[in-house]
């Protein structure tokens, strides 16, 4: 199993350009997440999805859009990139909590380092 993979690994954009980050998981997980990691800020949740065709806003959703057309993929889009979006982006996935609401582990991808000039 590859686990959680992210494409691309690195990208440099100019202000105003658009791009899409792809996250794929082969663990048949229901839940997927996009985070950004910034120095001194930790990880902040951008958007997440609890199943195919669903998305929800996290802590810092502005400037990003997401889509979950297939269960195994979760796309993060930047329509008009800004320097403030320079960051490392992590995708994660998890299975859904069971009937007892037990806690599940999130599995992370290797990250995408994005620089917006």
């Amino acid at each position: 199993n590859a686990g959680v993979t992210q494409t691309p690994k690195f990208r440099v954009l100019k202000t105003g350009q658009s791009m899409t980050l792809l996250c794929a998981q082969d663990m048949n997980h229901e839940y997927m997440y996009w985070y950004r990691q910034d120095p001194g800020m930790g990880l902040r949740l951008i958007h997440y999805s609890v199943g195919e065709g669903t998305t929800a806003k996290g802590e810092v959703p502005d400037g990003y859009n997401v889509s979950r057309l297939k269960k195994q993929n979760f796309l993060l889009g930047l329509e008009s990139a800004a320097p403030s979006q320079t960051s490392v982006y992590f995708c994660a996935s998890s299975s859904s909590p069971g009937l007892a609401g037990e806690v599940v582990t999130q599995y992370f991808g290797p990250g995408t380092r994005l620089t917006v000039l």
Binding site: Y33, G42, Y48, P97, V103, T105, Q106, P110
Partner: protein
């Protein structure tokens, strides 16, 4: 609102010294807490969670509801423990709130 506070950005110790990485939380419900670790140039991975009451790589963490803390401890640090450590709180049915992280540096 839920919040996770890791007061130290950097903790530097010598090999063999005890380590305590602090984590405090704010949450109105029954908390579920985790420690994640990120070694250099690697992805984040779960280290341990409080409900399991486990010890991983010599690390332990006890949930103290009175002090709203979930400090990570290891009696004798090793150089390979050098990494970024994140404390996380389950903040919804399926989401986590992370602290800002503490970088642990273990010197020989």
């Amino acid at each position: 609102a839920q919040r996770v506070t890791q007061p130290e950005k950097l903790l530097s110790v010598f090999k063999g010294a005890p380590v305590e990485l602090k984590c405090n939380y704010s949450y109105s419900g029954s908390p579920e807490l985790f420690w994640y670790v990120q070694y250099s140039r690697q992805r984040l991975q779960l280290l341990l969670r409080h409900i399991s009451r486990e010890s991983i790589k010599g690390f332990t963490a006890d949930l103290n509801k009175g002090e709203t803390s979930f400090h990570l401890k290891k009696p004798f640090a090793q150089e390979e423990d050098s990494a970024m450590y994140y404390c996380a709180l389950r903040s919804g049915y399926s989401t986590l709130t992370f602290g800002k992280g503490t970088m642990l540096l273990v010197s020989p």
